[in-house]
């Protein structure tokens, strides 16, 4: 039975090479479209919700923290806009984790395909919404804050890459764990709420007492948000060290997350 190995169909495996993943590009594309479609199906305002929801949240935050609790930051709305969408993206991608495998259980049980496609599908669908939000944020920042396009904006693609690496890297272990323990979906909102307060979303990181800042910046999201605020709000070019620093965190986070996902994904179909 000397069947050439190269012609064998993929049986369940943890890791997939980029070449293997490339075969599933059409699936990824249709998953992204589908994720966006399902989300806004049978809602009157449709895709507008993606903008309305964060804008309303932003309005509330801006009102509370510039009128009631006064955060000493000039043009507070601009500061808020600079970090909030980034935070929103991270939160939504991680928040999609617990339902990722369960939602596709029937598909998972009927056809063999790499689970990574589901992860990317969820993240990229969110990235489309993030793009729409950022577009509006950028226009507002350019017109009302910087009165021009600051040079620092050219680093945005790098920031978005970091954002993707971190969000996906954190989401994969969450998705994996949620397959085994349903507790994850109950615990996650609490964790995300805590993360919201210990990340510089509605206050700048420099307000954190210097003594605590070392611990504070262990949170990679705090570093990422600060980077976003430097580029978007300050319009300043961040140091190369700040980028390198974050890559040194984001890449391992993503790899470890993928390792966990890859280790267990072969049994997903049996459990969900």
């Amino acid at each position: 039975m000397g069947a050439p190995v190269s012609a064998l169909a993929p049986t369940v495996r943890g890791w997939h090479t980029p070449a293997e993943m490339w075969r599933y590009r059409e699936m990824l594309r249709s998953l992204v479209v589908r994720n966006l479609k399902v989300k806004y199906q049978r809602s009157l305002l449709g895709f507008l919700w993606t903008l309305l929801n964060p804008i309303l949240t932003l309005a509330v935050l801006a009102t509370v923290f510039s009128i009631v609790v006064r955060i000493p930051v000039p043009q507070y709305w601009a500061f808020l806009v600079s970090g909030y969408f980034c935070w929103n993206f991270v939160m939504q991608v991680i928040g999609a984790g617990p339902f990722l495998i369960a939602e596709h259980a029937p598909l998972r049980r009927s056809i063999a395909f790499p689970g990574e496609v589901l992860v990317l599908g969820a993240a990229l669908a969110r990235l489309v919404e993030f793009g729409a939000e950022m577009f509006i944020a950028l226009v507002a920042l350019i017109v009302f804050r910087h009165h021009g396009i600051p040079l620092s904006f050219v680093t945005l693609p790098v920031l978005v890459l970091l954002l993707l690496l971190l969000a996906v890297g954190l989401m994969m272990p969450v998705a994996t764990l949620a397959v085994f323990y349903h507790d994850v979906q109950h615990a996650l909102p609490i964790v995300l709420l805590i993360l919201f307060y210990v990340s510089p979303v509605f206050y700048p990181a420099r307000m954190v007492p210097a003594a605590l800042r070392g611990i504070y910046l262990l949170n990679p999201i705090a570093r990422l948000l600060t980077l976003f605020q430097t580029v978007l709000y300050d319009g300043r070019m961040p140091s190369a060290a700040a980028f390198a620093n974050l890559f040194l965190i984001a890449i391992p986070v993503c790899l470890v997350g993928y390792a966990i996902f890859a280790r267990y994904q072969a049994v997903f179909a049996e459990i969900v």
């Binding site: 169909a9 369940v12 059409e26 699936m27 029937p106 598909l107 049980r109 056809i111 063999a112 049996e270």
Partner: protein
């Protein structure tokens, strides 16, 4: 291009107890006796040649569907190996994993994409699918409003539209109505004539005799008998009627 399936795997550990239970037991210091392995397939060997049609028969829980899922690459074998060559088309769950909120058309597109069809190909084959499934205008309704028969018809139509070399069918023929079954039979006979390989799981002895050349009779995760369809079905039928 050519297709030649060799499947050898020994047993398959099915985890029926939840790991969360295990976790709480550890925390509460209760005896951890839950994680026993249940074997739903033991030392299963099957070699299917290209162009063959093999039926898996046996009572519920005998491991037929598990075997099919292993061949589909959905489950990983605990031991042993599963090899397939050629494009697989599988109808394992009712509705090939359709998403209930999406319309029939969208689900077809998604399935075709998972199977690696380009957008162009899937659009090209779309009329063929709707015609075969006889789904009519319902194709633009969410799948959750479909009857089980409609789901089964669409699932079958989609699975065959990817032009598979190997077809894995789990109880599909039992769901559709008579005219659909006839069309399925016609299709499957043509499929075999063109050199396609198929492995079907069914309780229906007539379709087994009509479509398959070989049968595997499974019992408690083991192969009880394997051989030419007539012989196996006769033996299986005897036990079935004796048991009633």
């Amino acid at each position: 291009m050519c297709e030649h399936v060799v499947k050898r795997f020994y047993h398959y550990e099915h985890r029926t107890t939840s790991l969360r239970e295990l976790f709480t037991r550890v925390v509460r210091r209760r005896p951890v006796s839950v994680r026993r392995a249940e074997f739903s397939l033991v030392d299963f060997n099957l070699c299917v040649e290209r162009g063959e049609a093999v039926a898996l028969v046996g009572s519920n829980g005998s491991g037929k569907s598990t075997a099919l899922r292993l061949m589909a690459g959905v489950y990983a074998p605990t031991e042993g190996r599963v090899w397939t060559r050629g494009r697989l088309g599988a109808v394992i769950e009712l509705g090939v994993g359709f998403h209930p909120e999406l319309t029939g058309a969208e689900n077809v597109a998604l399935y075709a994409a998972v199977m690696g069809l380009s957008r162009h190909e899937s659009r090209e084959r779309f009329p063929e699918i709707t015609a075969f499934a006889e789904i009519g205008d319902f194709i633009d309704e969410p799948v959750k409003y479909y009857s089980s028969g409609m789901q089964a018809r669409l699932a079958f139509a989609v699975a065959v539209c990817v032009r598979p070399d190997i077809l894995l069918l789990d109880e599909v023929l039992a769901v559709g109505d008579r005219s659909f079954r006839e069309r399925c039979f016609d299709f499957l006979e043509g499929f075999r004539a063109r050199g396609g390989t198929m492995i079907i799981v069914t309780h229906d002895a007539d379709s087994v005799r009509r479509l398959c050349s070989r049968a595997v009779w499974m019992e408690h995760g083991r192969v009880r008998m394997i051989g030419p369809v007539e012989r196996v079905m006769d033996a299986y039928g005897d036990v079935g009627s004796a048991g009633q």
